[in-house]
């Protein structure tokens, strides 16, 4: 018998967005392609294990078991159910819920691994993340690093029916992104600034929403006439260009999704539909605006609100990119109706491309104290490295303009296109070994220690190389880019009264005791080219008064020093605080 190669991927049915989005009364489903594996009962695989334990009833549900490989194919146990005239059993069968979370978590992880060109570790010591699809009776869902888990609650909704957060694509993708981002940049959960906290939320929203907009089923449904009624501008599968202006797309697709996202799910997704609505409606700033940036307004000191700036910039860029692609479809036949299917494909391609860019940028962002302006420079640089010619779809130009509309300019202001400047430090490579530098943190540490002055490291701080990752990225033209991405962090703990000894001095927050213990962070991402030469050093220094002073002031004002014990399950707390708008003026406390 000739051995048959095992498939590398398999397709599994999931709910396209959430059970409230229906076509002809049926829950809208889709199939996602994920890495194939011999799944143990759970599903339990090499990166994800579903444990269907319900704490509120103290019950462990029997796990889903998958049939083994048959005729070189893996079967999807719910494929037929999904296609039936009524597919309500998907909602009432916990085993489908188990598959839904397993597949979306795996898909999201695979999406990151594809974009970054390497395996990604979780942010905790372990290979498999635990996923509890029915963790508790509560309108909440979150990532818990401490428990190595994604937990999804269920609750009785406005209709009196039970609502399952594990069945919302955007909720699962959002929480998974928190977990992945924590694996990639574990200092982003450190108390730092509203922007860094906002980034975790905003970025997870961006990934979740662009993942949903990458699904043709969802975008197609949002562009289709509602309830089978023909909307003006539609004729069979053609669509009028008048329906495809930026404003119309914003209304039909972005706000359309916000409207269709189950209203009752807002408590769980932390008002993501509301945030999506607000982000889309966030007005671009003009020269007449005072202040010139949203970040200066008090309400944008709250992390979720701040994160909406990122969502607004990225989603408006998505619309611009989509519109630019539609313009190319129209070329040569202005005013003619367009093939709806092609319009949808252009939209999903644009979402997919932006999603890849958004993920790749992480490698080019500083590993500590991230600001949106850093992320913008990282976005531009990462894309430029892989796609030097931006003329076809002009994504970089679109992104720069969209961020500028919301008051965010690239951190790298010396380069004309906002990308990071190449590293021009006088470095010595004499004592470093090229091969080891591609994978060995000790070797990289030796390199940065040898070059600590040229790399502007704080010599008196604790320094650690946290990761070394060789990556291979394939550009749209098939061009391969090989890089090694290494990260180091630095930290120093001292008393507040010692802040004055930095040059220039770091400001002690007003009212802080001189002997209060404070920790300052710094760190950098090092991007080595395929010859082991340092291309970019994207970093924040400890000895940076303009960064550290406002950071300490913010943390002091918002109670971090008073509530250090609340670090555990930070996302659960954040989601609750978003749902309930919880803030306390800690300056008034004893």
């Amino acid at each position: 018998m000739i051995p048959v190669a095992k498939p590398r991927t398999r397709r599994l049915t999931v709910i396209a967005q959430d059970p409230s989005i229906r076509v002809d009364g049926r829950v809208l489903t889709t199939e996602v392609e994920i890495p194939a594996e011999e799944i143990a009962p759970g599903p339990r695989g090499y990166r994800v294990q579903v444990v269907d334990y319900d704490t509120s009833s103290g019950v462990l549900y029997q796990p889903l078991e998958y049939p083994p490989l048959q005729n070189a194919q893996y079967l999807d146990p719910f494929k037929e159910d999904a296609q039936r005239a009524t597919n309500e059993n998907l909602i009432t069968d916990p085993r489908f819920h188990q598959q839904n979370v397993y597949a979306i978590v795996m898909k999201t992880l695979a999406r990151f691994e594809f974009a970054l060109g390497r395996r990604i570790s979780w942010g905790f010591p372990g290979h498999q993340i635990n996923v509890a699809p029915h963790a508790f009776a509560d309108a909440n869902a979150f990532y818990s690093k401490h428990d190595q888990a994604l937990v999804f609650g269920y609750f009785k909704g406005l209709s009196g029916q039970v609502v399952f957060s594990c069945l919302s694509h955007d909720v699962v993708a959002h929480e998974t992104t928190h977990a992945i981002l924590d694996g990639l940049r574990n200092r982003y959960t450190d108390p730092s600034s509203p922007e860094q906290a906002g980034f975790h939320e905003g970025f997870s929203d961006v990934v979740a929403l662009l993942s949903v907009f990458s699904l043709t089923e969802v975008v197609g449904t949002l562009l289709q006439p509602k309830g089978g009624q023909k909307r003006k501008g539609y004729k069979s599968d053609l669509i009028s260009p008048a329906e495809l202006t930026i404003e119309k797309l914003r209304d039909s697709v972005l706000l359309g999704l916000a409207k269709q996202m189950g209203h009752e799910m807002e408590g769980v997704r932390g008002n993501r539909a509301h945030a999506l609505r607000r982000s889309v409606k966030l007005r671009p700033l003009t020269d007449k605006d005072d202040p010139k940036t949203y970040e200066k307004l008090e309400e944008f000191q709250e992390p979720h609100r701040r994160g909406e700036i990122l969502v607004a910039a990225m989603l408006n860029a998505f619309l611009q990119a989509w519109r630019a692609r539609i313009t190319q479809l129209e070329r040569g036949r202005p005013g003619a109706k367009l093939d709806l299917k092609m319009v949808v494909e252009q939209g999903t391609d644009a979402a997919d491309q932006l999603l890849t860019m958004a993920i790749r940028a992480l490698d080019y962002a500083p590993p500590t104290d991230l600001q949106f302006r850093d992320y913008l420079s990282a976005l531009v640089t990462a894309d430029k490295e892989l796609v030097p010619d931006d003329s076809k779809y002009q994504y970089r130009k679109i992104l720069l303009k969209s961020f500028r509309d919301y008051g965010v300019k690239p951190a790298s202001f010396n380069s004309p296109d906002g990308s990071w400047e190449a590293c021009n430090a006088q470095l010595t490579y004499d004592r470093s070994h090229f091969e080891s530098m591609m994978r060995d943190p000790d070797e990289v540490f030796r390199f940065i220690w040898e070059n600590r002055q040229a790399l502007k490291l704080e010599e008196h701080a604790y320094t650690k190389v946290t990761s070394v990752r060789p990556c291979l990225r394939i550009g749209p033209d098939g061009f391969a880019l090989r890089e090694t991405v290494a990260e180091y962090i630095q930290m120093v703990t001292l008393q507040a009264q010692e802040l004055q000894f930095f040059d220039p001095p770091i400001g002690k927050p007003e009212g802080m005791s001189p002997d209060e213990e404070v920790t300052l962070y710094g760190g950098g991402s090092l991007i080595f080219d395929e010859y082991g030469r340092l291309k970019y050093q994207v970093f924040n220094r400890i000895n940076n008064s303009s960064l550290q002073t406002p950071r300490l002031k913010y943390l002091w004002k918002y109670g971090y020093f008073a509530d250090k014990d609340t670090e555990e399950n930070a996302f659960a707390r954040l989601h609750l605080s978003r749902a309930l708008n919880l803030t306390t003026n800690v300056a008034e406390r004893f």
């Binding site: 334990y53 319900d54 509120s56 019950v59 549900y61 309108a139 937990v151 406005l158 009752e264 014990d565």
Partner: protein, 464 residues
């Protein structure tokens, strides 16, 4: 009742009863100039509740002892009752029994003329159709502020229901079937807060609603008590209504409708939680489970699942504690903040009001109110001495506080509390908060109910 025009109290006795973790203050005003015996004394009761007694006090008999003492002091007539908010530790003493033998029956028997409660207890503020739970109606963001006001009140009932469910669920988490039970300290904290916020107060709420003429107050509410308590002025500095609170938020936000949107979201959150509490009730009573026909493990759990199940149970415990803390705080912030002016002295009783309740008085009418509060002579320490209930702006504003024990008119402070019941030192949430107690001891005549058997008394005399 004979005319009392021109009468002024000549002295006041403040009795802070030993109710463990709770509040109960009886204010007895003496009118030496009154001609009728019945007019010689007037009585004002502020709160009567407990959630736990110290080991040295008989937990069953103490509340009855207090009720009997109040009955005796009042000599058959209580003039005014203030129930600062509906927490058990403030109103459980008003609970009645079917056979009429409850402590609340004794208080009702004293026939108080007026009962003051926060506006959130006003039946008119409650929406009979109650949005959310089991209903398809809901209010769109930024619309129908009155309806949101009703939803807010409704949300308080939702919080009660959720507290009840959490009491049931936490018992489930202590079960040791196939896995370890929840940390006992965590369980105790959840139980304490969920019990304080639960529906057990129902008969007390009903008793308060029917024992006298009701006044449901908010910031700035005017209540003339010159007939009932001659020579005494009552001012209410909290709680603010939602509209009043919105004024603060609107000043800070670029989006003026932001406050209402967030309110709507928060009210819906509690409505969903309350509806979900019904599910928990069904689960714990063994009636059903989430997927009744799905197969579940009946024997030992798989070994590879056990670590995570333990983690998940602990996580749920944390989550429940977080929820009950939030709703506890929300309930605290409905507290009536009463400023009483008598004989040239000001006495401040803020219930359990926390910073968010105080925010309106200390922010919007800041200058006028800070001036008004500058010379407070007696301060009932807010929320049993917790860290969030004596805003530093308020404390620092008291011109009467002083390290000089001989200073004339020095501030008097009284706290009704019990150590080890609420919060913990490691997280700086212990009640009473050590740093606050230190301040109180150093800068005021500090009194506490902690060591007393029945009550701590303070007598104030007034000139002329």
């Amino acid at each position: 009742m004979a005319t009392t025009t021109g009468l002024k109290p000549t002295s006041l006795t403040i009795r802070a009863y030993q109710v463990g973790f709770g509040d109960c203050f009886l204010l007895t005003f003496l009118y030496a100039g009154a001609t009728r015996k019945a007019d010689k004394e007037r009585h004002l009761l502020i709160d009567f509740g407990t959630t736990g007694m110290p080991e040295t006090v008989d937990p069953d008999g103490q509340m009855m002892r207090v009720a009997r003492d109040i009955e005796e002091r009042c000599d058959g007539k209580l003039h005014l009752v203030v129930a600062s908010h509906r927490h058990k530790d403030h109103i459980s003493g008003f609970a009645t029994r079917e056979d009429g033998s409850g402590t609340g029956d004794i208080i009702a028997g004293l026939k108080p003329e007026i009962v003051v409660q926060p506006w959130t207890e006003d039946p008119k503020a409650k929406d009979p159709k109650k949005h959310g739970k089991g209903s398809k109606t809901h209010v769109a963001f930024g619309q129908q502020e009155n309806s949101l006001q009703q939803q807010f009140v409704s949300a308080l009932s939702d919080m009660n229901a959720l507290s009840e469910a959490i009491q049931l669920e936490v018992s489930n988490l202590t079960s040791t079937k196939f896995t370890r039970g929840l940390n006992q300290e965590l369980v105790d904290q959840i139980k304490f807060l969920s019990e304080d916020n639960g529906l057990a107060n129902k008969s007390a709420v009903e008793n308060l609603a029917t024992m006298g003429t009701n006044h449901f107050v908010n910031y700035g509410y005017e209540l003339n008590v010159s007939r009932l308590l001659p020579g005494i002025k009552l001012r209410f500095l909290g709680p603010p209504t939602l509209e009043q609170h919105a004024e603060i938020k609107k000043q800070r936000a670029s989006d003026k409708s932001e406050f209402w949107m967030l309110q709507a979201a928060a009210q819906q959150f509690w409505s969903l939680q309350s509806a979900t509490a019904e599910l928990i009730g069904d689960f714990t009573s063994g009636n059903t489970r989430l997927f009744p026909s799905a197969d579940v493990f009946q024997g030992f759990f798989p070994t590879h699942n056990r670590w995570f199940i333990r983690q998940l149970r602990a996580l749920r415990g944390d989550q429940m504690l977080r929820l009950v803390r939030i709703l506890d705080k929300a309930m605290n912030n409905t507290s009536v903040i009463l400023l009483l002016e008598v004989g040239g002295k000001k006495l401040l009783f803020p219930g359990d009001a926390q910073i968010e309740n105080w925010e309106y008085a200390l922010h919007l009418d800041k200058n006028a109110n800070l001036k008004l509060l500058k010379d407070v002579y007696f301060y009932k320490v807010g929320h049993h001495g917790s860290r969030n209930a004596t805003p530093k702006t308020l404390w620092n504003n008291f011109a009467t506080r002083s390290a000089d024990k001989k200073k004339r008119g020095r501030l008097h402070t009284m706290v009704s509390t019990m150590k080890g019941k609420h919060g913990c030192k490691d997280s700086h949430t212990e009640v009473p908060r050590a740093t606050l107690v230190n301040e109180l001891m150093n800068h005021s005549e500090y009194m506490t109910t902690e060591e007393s058997a029945l009550s701590v008394d303070l007598k104030l005399t007034f000139q002329g």
